[in-house]
Symmetry: C2
Subunit: 301 residues, 2 copies
């Protein structure tokens, strides 16, 4: 068996095209496009590169896009004031604060200052709580888990009744995707097990999985003998395992690997996501979807 | 094997004695006891009996206890105003609105009107979100899941690394206890599976469980052949299966059964909770603990 490859890069294109059409409709109906502000504190290179991609994508779909590049030594209070300004800005629908923040700033306080109706990352406890209580019916889903659900839906992976094993219990991936998939609803109603560093026999659990979602941050953790024949393997890991030099530009390029031994898994799984080009591209597309939704929710509430 | 019986009635006594000592200390330190308001709308007999027990227990531990018995036809707005009054009352630390509410009142709106720092039922989305993000480190845990954790701790059931299977995915029991037990921390760090009406083979999952938590609302659902020898069985079900007449008072008494075939399970399990007298009594004790905690949190924040 050779697994079907679920290409996040392709799905992203389809999603962004949908968003662009939505943006045109909203401009017609409300006289303005959705507005997204990206707030970056300091100059962490990884954060810079994530934010640049978000900005580029926001432009592509036709958003109003505002960048706040704040100095590393900004006070917590100044940052909170900046967020409040956009809470009160009627042309801004989504507020994204790029994490991590410098050590002198309380991340929890920052996240809780974002108006929950503009919290397009869905990290505010109110939105986390709604996800747990309401599943996919919650106003905003965090972008990576939402991207995973979109991949399952668009690849027609059967989820209802499936055995799902989630490897990892992070607040950003493991816990929310587990909570989403165990609830009633489309692309949900699965039997979900969460395994982690405290689990006795991870391999045995993985082998039960019809859908195996791996977000452990350990390169090549999941070996082919952990995978049930025909299972859907979603690899959320993005691990830098080295670098190479581009033959074209001469620039250094990070060598990325997932949490799954991809080449070997390809022969066992029924579906698999590559790294790079799998879950990663979905995350930014879902951020754009959330921003459109934020505008719709504010307009209809 | 005959299971050790985890008696919630006994644990409740120990917990309430601890709370009473805390109350004395707080009166000394702050000049007043913790204050709890119970808000009851209408005269649903089950709600009346729950609230009466809460009031009685609050008196026993020495709380200031305020009762708001509001008419069935109260408007939503009047109820919200009543809650806001207690949000602003410095002598009230905990606000409990007995659910369910009459159909003309939006329960979600009512719960979200309670100040999260006085939300001793922990049903506000902010407190639900904190539970998912922080586990037992969250400010308030909902009373039934918190009671189950207390039972596991006080009965010295090994939880770290254990296989936990939760039967049922309610917002009040299944989802929060699953989220609590899968996180790092004391009486946690377990491998957790949630099974439900959409699960293919519930019995097979249950048989894997070192700790089996059943909150399905189906009398005698769990049969002895679903239970691993020596497992800890926590039965959250309270099902009315008939009634009898008290020989002493001549009053009708509801006959209650749990979700587990208790007599048979007793021979297989290592620990078991009876119904009645198991998880039920813990819930009210944890409500009292939460109210003390609410006062402490407000005093130190």
């Amino acid at each position: 068996m050779t697994a079907k490859i679920i290409r996040g890069t392709d799905l992203r294109e389809a999603l962004l095209d949908e968003v662009a059409v939505d943006v045109l409709r909203m401009k017609e109906q409300y006289g303005r496009p959705p507005g997204l502000v990206t707030i970056l504190v300091g100059e962490n290179p990884a954060s810079l590169s994530y934010v640049s991609l978000k900005i580029k994508t926001a432009h592509r779909v036709g958003f109003k896009e505002v960048q706040e590049n704040l100095p590393e030594n900004i006070s917590e209070n100044e940052l909170l004031e900046c967020i409040k300004k956009y809470n009160n800005d009627e042309t801004i629908d989504g507020i994204l604060v790029q994490l991590p923040l410098p050590g002198h700033i309380n991340e929890g306080k920052v996240i809780e200052t974002i108006d929950p109706v503009k919290d397009v990352d869905a990290f505010h406890p109110v939105n986390v709580g709604r996800l747990m209580q309401e599943g996919a019916a919650a106003p905003f889903l965090p972008c990576t888990p939402a991207g995973i659900m979109e991949m399952l839906i668009r690849s027609e992976v059967p989820v209802a009744g499936a055995e799902v094993v989630v490897v990892g219990r992070s607040n950003i991936v493991g816990k929310p995707i587990a909570n989403l998939l165990l609830q009633k609803g489309a692309a949900a109603n699965a039997t979900v097990t969460v395994v982690h560093t405290g689990t006795r026999n991870i391999a045995e659990h993985c082998l039960r999985a019809d859908i195996l979602i791996v977000a452990a941050g350990v390169p090549n953790l999941v070996r082919p003998e952990w995978i049930k024949a025909g299972a859907c393997v979603i690899d959320v890991g993005v691990n830098r395992v080295g670098e190479s030099v581009s033959a074209v530009t001469g620039k250094k390029i990070a060598l990325l690997r997932g949490d799954v031994d991809y080449d070997a898994a390809l022969e066992v799984a029924g579906w698999i996501t590559p790294v790079p080009g799998g879950v990663g591209p979905m995350t930014i597309a879902m951020l754009m979807k959330n921003t459109v939704k934020a505008m719709k929710l504010r307009r209809t509430s």
